[in-house]
């Protein structure tokens, strides 16, 4: 479904150039939930953004559903692939009502039956019509993220890119959103690429996981390997140990992986 080959992303030019991502390759099958994990600076969000078309300065090949992507994205692409961002407080425009937010993608792509689609999108994510004219500051974090998901799904895409969708949410709300995302994926046969730094979340929902460190690809592991804590690379093992909680003795053994 999605194939990324030798992806490289650079910021800046000439001597100031920063190679944020180098030589990353992976494949995602249709209907799969693929995880992309790493710490800050690993380049995982950068990879996602390059796929979404938010980044022009990339090299390599990206193929989605048989179509190879060029430098610019066309309208058809946007109907096929959408994105949910991390910060529910930043990804909704503070001066737009929920109605405005959900209407926008419909207006851009020329849909006319907006009222129905908006109400349907709201109920899909478990929100009633009374939320329609609220402003983002009148919504809780979980509700905002639901709106963000509704906005991503209203164009009926087949691929959803999720950039840390629950990192800014309370634990109990995270559970609701993860359940919602799982249900939607099953119901609509969606393909997900989920970026996260939280290994427990990834172990819960992703079938295959790519691990990144400092812009480079470390390894690809299966959900089974993650859950049984049997990755191959030392970096991944250290990450797993750290995810298990505070253990003073183990912390002394942490090393820097460059």
């Amino acid at each position: 479904m999605i194939r990324v080959e030798n992806l490289g992303i650079t910021f800046g030019r000439g001597s100031d150039a920063v190679h944020a991502v180098r030589g990353v390759s992976f494949e995602v099958g249709e209907g799969e939930n693929f995880g992309l994990v790493g710490e800050s600076g690993s380049g995982k969000s950068t990879v996602l953004r390059a796929i979404a078309g938010l980044n022009d300065n990339w090299s390599g090949r990206i193929v989605i559903d048989g179509v190879e992507l060029g430098a610019k994205r066309d309208r058809a692409f946007h109907k096929r692939l959408q994105m949910v961002f991390q910060d529910p407080y930043g990804s909704l425009h503070p001066r737009h009502t929920v109605n405005d937010i959900l209407k926008e993608p419909l207006s851009i792509h020329g849909f006319t039956d907006t009222e129905n689609r908006i109400l349907k999108a709201l109920s899909e994510v478990g929100l009633g019509p009374e939320f329609r004219f609220r402003f983002p500051h009148q919504l809780s974090g979980g509700q905002r993220q639901r709106i963000a998901i509704a906005r991503a799904l209203i164009l009926e895409p087949s691929v959803l890119l999720l950039d840390e969708p629950t990192s800014a949410l309370d634990v109990s709300v995270q559970a609701e959103i993860l359940n919602l995302l799982a249900r939607l994926r099953e119901e609509y046969g969606l393909t997900y690429i989920m970026v996260s730094h939280n290994l427990a979340v990834v172990a819960h929902v992703c079938q295959r996981i790519a691990v990144m460190n400092r812009g480079l690809f470390v390894e690809e592991i299966t959900q089974e390997q993650l859950r049984s804590q049997t990755p191959e690379q030392g970096y991944t093992r250290q990450l797993l140990t750290a995810s298990l909680g505070y253990d003073r003795a183990k912390i002394d053994e942490f090393v820097e992986f460059t």
């Binding site: 634990v171 109990s172 359940n179 427990a200 819960h204």
Partner: protein, 285 residues
């Protein structure tokens, strides 16, 4: 090790006036802090941060604090005047906040800020303060302290920034540290390294630590005791090792809805909030 009680709080209440009415952020909170690591856990809106701020009377001006008792080493914090409080804040009770990018002064070198923290609370020369600051940077495991001393906050990484914050807060040798989500903005490996540092410092100096966080499992693995907050109240007090024996349905619900690394929670049960949990309790010991 016999721990003496450093902080004794009884029936702390914090409320705010808003256009839509009075919001009670903290209700009937009572607990004691010894020379231990006490975790204060809750989701957003639980009142945990407001509790931490109220101890140092740092609540915003529209807030009202009241308590039957808020004693620190014989000082009545509730009724103390500003002068007494200034003597307590920073030098006897310190606070570490979440993001060093925002809590460090962006136009001062980090070394200077640590030295200033020393100068403010003791009568010493600038040179002595500088020396103490350099020592402190070494204590928090910063390599090449001479080089780091001259850096500005935007030039240091998140983990290093938090170490610097810890250095700043510890240099006056306080009795209590209140840490409000000190590691939430950090990567997981760095998080643990910073916590290890805090752990060592607290143990070596016999300090009390109040660790405020939303991360229940992290708090349980790091602290000695855990207080779970919901709706402004403490709903459960536990020994960290006895977390699995939690009795309150909210705590149990929180534990259940955490995804597990070993995948043992197949479908995350949704936390059903019982309105009964919001009813004011009497938690006086």
């Amino acid at each position: 090790m016999a721990t003496k009680t450093l902080l004794d709080i009884e029936n702390l209440n914090v409320s705010f006036d808003t256009p839509k009415g009075i919001v009670e952020a903290v209700r009937n909170v009572s607990f004691t802090l010894g020379q231990e690591r006490l975790g204060l856990v809750g989701e957003s809106g639980s009142g945990k941060s407001q509790t931490g701020r109220a101890i140092l009377r740092l609540t915003a001006s529209q807030g009202h604090i009241s308590a039957d008792k808020m004693d620190f080493d014989g000082i009545d914090l509730i009724n103390a005047d500003e002068k007494t409080l200034r003597g307590v804040r920073g030098s006897r009770i310190s606070m570490i906040m979440q993001d060093p990018r925002y809590s460090l002064n962006p136009i001062m070198t980090v070394g200077h800020q640590v030295a200033e923290a020393y100068l403010v609370h003791s009568k010493s020369s600038k040179r002595e303060a500088r020396e103490r600051a350099m020592e402190m940077l070494k204590t928090v495991h910063i390599r090449e302290p001479e080089k780091v001393y001259k850096l500005y906050p935007h030039e240091v990484s998140g983990g290093m920034g938090q170490r610097i914050m810890i250095a700043m807060m510890l240099i006056p040798d306080p009795d209590i540290i209140i840490a409000d989500e000190p590691t939430s903005a950090l990567d997981v490996t760095v998080q643990l390294q910073v916590l290890a540092l805090l752990d060592d410092m607290v143990r070596d100096r016999g300090m009390g630590l109040i660790f405020i966080s939303h991360d229940l499992s992290l708090v349980a693995s790091f602290c000695d005791r855990v207080l779970v907050m919901y709706g402004g109240q403490i709903v459960e007090t536990l020994d960290a090792k006895a977390l699995h024996e939690a009795k309150h349905p909210y705590t149990q619900g929180l534990l259940n809805c955490l995804p597990r690394l070993d995948g043992s929670h197949k479908i995350l049960p949704v936390l059903e909030r019982d309105p009964a949990w919001m009813i004011a309790q009497d938690t006086r010991p």
